[in-house]
């Protein structure tokens, strides 16, 4: 009887591990295939049946990519856009969220503000992309990184303000009230009291912003032509090119995603917190 139960538990355990192993394979195999294609020699690329594991590893596709001055341009643009967007978003949104949460707004008004944030996050962005393109054309900002950055800020600021609003509303008020009695002005209460307590939330918000900006395609593709193009556009551009260029295409995709995968592994805890915070607490 007891051994029967043990056998059953062991069987359940191995079934569970089997299911998880399959799920991991489903995630890893396509990623591994992408990496293999990026180091596969040209003559093994288009055979039928396909050669999955290359006979030798070549870096020719990466060399070709980096020998092209445009690749460096894409990389620098992506880094600039992501860096500035993240820095500005964190400062502006954290301040705004603190202000909103400490203004003493009536509950009805505050939930209206929250609805606006939710609306901006989820309405069809394509609606504003075309007018945004026209505005940027008017301002002669087309094909500059600023057009991309301002466009990204339009998404990330409402989103991060919303996240940080949840964080600040969860903080205990007592310490801030004590600081207020001691004569601290709002900026001091924000910077010296509330912000340190909210630091993990700020980290999550910054990380999410960086991912969003690095991976973004729609806005970047609508306001750039050549000079200000970013990596997402470089990756997408291979689709419309005549002929199949799997090697360079895979290499460019690897250049785009590998830094983000490493970064994600490094900051995993904050990333997961940020992703679930908005969904679970809203």
């Amino acid at each position: 009887m007891l051994s029967g139960n043990l056998a059953k538990i062991a069987a359940q355990r191995s079934l569970r591990m089997l299911a998880l192993a399959i799920a991991c394979l489903v995630v890893l195999v396509p990623l591994g295939y992408l990496v293999l294609n990026s180091v596969k020699p040209q003559n093994e690329m288009y055979t039928i049946p396909p050669i999955i594991i290359p006979s030798r590893i070549t870096l020719e596709h990466f060399e070709a990519a980096f020998n092209n001055p445009r690749t460096l341009r894409f990389l620098i643009n992506s880094l600039t856009v992501t860096g500035i967007t993240t820095a500005v978003t964190v400062v502006v949104s954290t301040l705004a969220a603190y202000g909103l949460s400490r203004m003493g707004l009536r509950a009805g008004l505050l939930s209206f503000v929250v609805f606006i944030f939710l609306f901006i996050r989820f309405y069809p962005r394509i609606t504003t992309v075309i007018p945004y393109f026209l505005v940027m054309r008017q301002l002669a900002l087309l094909d500059t990184v600023w057009a991309v950055i301002i466009g990204h800020l339009g998404i990330t600021i409402p989103f991060v303000t919303w996240l940080m609003l949840i964080v600040f509303q969860d903080l205990p008020r007592e310490v801030e009230e004590a600081a207020e009695v001691d004569g601290a002005n709002p900026l001091q209460r924000f910077g010296l009291v509330a912000l340190p307590m909210a630091a993990p939330g700020v980290a999550s918000a910054a990380i999410l912003t960086a991912f969003l900006s690095w991976n973004e395609f729609l806005i970047a593709s609508s306001v750039t032509k050549r000079q200000a193009q970013v990596l997402s556009i470089a990756v997408a551009s291979f689709v419309t090119d005549r002929g199949v260029q799997w090697g360079p295409m895979a290499a460019m995709a690897v250049i785009m995603i590998v830094p983000m995968i490493l970064f994600a592994l490094f900051v995993q805890r904050y990333l997961i917190r940020g992703i679930t915070l908005g969904a679970v607490k809203g």
Partner: protein
């Protein structure tokens, strides 16, 4: 409290209020400039006859003509059907798979933590890159998918060349990319259910399945419903992966609402019709958002 103290307090609050307004101002200005102004501009565009390739400025007010043209357009109708089909199927699969995987991936052992790390990788990969990667995977001749299927004795379909299979491909990529999101949210929801509930249910002789149905599902119902709606909206809006996976093709087979508006506005530069189509899309999304919002409020007051 003495009157003077009250007055002082009131003055300080008003003084604070100015600070708070200053804190909120930069964000508000940016949102108005980058979100609300283009929204109003787009409402205006939807009533104009303006194709950028033939004219640098609008060729006049046409009332609701653009809306009528869009609604009668075959490609638009097909895009609406495709969007409903792709989003409906993909999100349902994601909810089921994500929830199941969350139950399998509960735990704090080193192996389980490593597995969770691996499983969430697709979430951080750029959708354009995910589309690119699956474009290679699903290539009928040279791709890995059909090669692996051939070992099982299955002749794989022409995934991206056949209209029906191309829709299936889009669904596969959506599921691959965002099932981890559902997994994470359900894991977070599960961790908020007190262990005692499961323990006492087990003592009363409830099976795992019964405690899932009678404890977890009711407690997580609001969360699951919200996740479903969030995913539905996000899936409807997604463009990047379709762009690199199929380019809407073959023909118009995988045109979705977002993709249709994108090509209309930023490839054919028919600004009026694109704006009209996006407002039709928008009215639906707003309705869904109001439901989300209402549910969130109700859920919060229930807690």
């Amino acid at each position: 409290m003495s009157t003077i103290a009250t007055l002082k307090r009131r003055r300080r609050l008003r003084h604070d209020w100015i600070w708070m307004v200053a804190f909120v101002l930069p964000a508000s200005l940016l949102v108005v400039a980058v979100q609300f102004y283009p929204l109003l501009f787009s409402a205006y565009l939807s009533t104009q006859d303006w194709t950028l390739t033939s004219s640098q400025s609008s060729e006049g007010f046409v009332g609701l003509d653009n809306f009528a043209k869009v609604l009668r357009n075959d490609v638009f109708q097909r895009a609406v059907r495709n969007s409903a089909l792709i989003t409906g199927t993909a999100v349902t699969l994601e909810m089921i798979l994500g929830t199941a995987l969350a139950y399998l991936a509960v735990g704090s052992s080193r192996t389980i933590r490593a597995v969770r790390t691996l499983l969430i990788l697709p979430l951080v990969i750029a959708p354009v890159a995910a589309g690119t990667l699956w474009r290679m995977m699903l290539n009928s001749q040279m791709g890995l998918t059909n090669y692996l299927l051939s070992f099982l004795g299955i002749q794989g379909p022409d995934w991206l060349g056949n209209a029906d299979w191309a829709l299936v491909s889009v669904i596969i990529v959506d599921v691959w990319m965002t099932t981890p999101f559902v997994l994470l949210v359900v894991l977070a929801g599960l961790s908020s259910i007190p262990d005692e509930l499961h323990e006492s249910a087990a003592l009363d002789g409830a099976t795992r399945w019964k405690s899932f149905i009678y404890i977890d599902v009711p407690l997580m119902a609001p969360l699951l419903l919200l996740t479903f709606l969030f995913r539905m909206l996000e899936s409807l809006l997604s463009l990047d992966s379709i762009y690199t996976l199929t380019l809407g093709g073959p023909g118009y087979a995988t045109f979705t609402m977002t993709y249709y508006i994108y090509t209309l506005g930023l490839r054919s530069f028919n600004l009026g019709m694109a704006a009209a189509a996006s407002w039709l899309f928008m009215s639906f999304a707003t309705l869904a958002l109001l439901v989300v919002f209402w549910l969130q409020r109700r859920w919060q007051t229930a807690q």
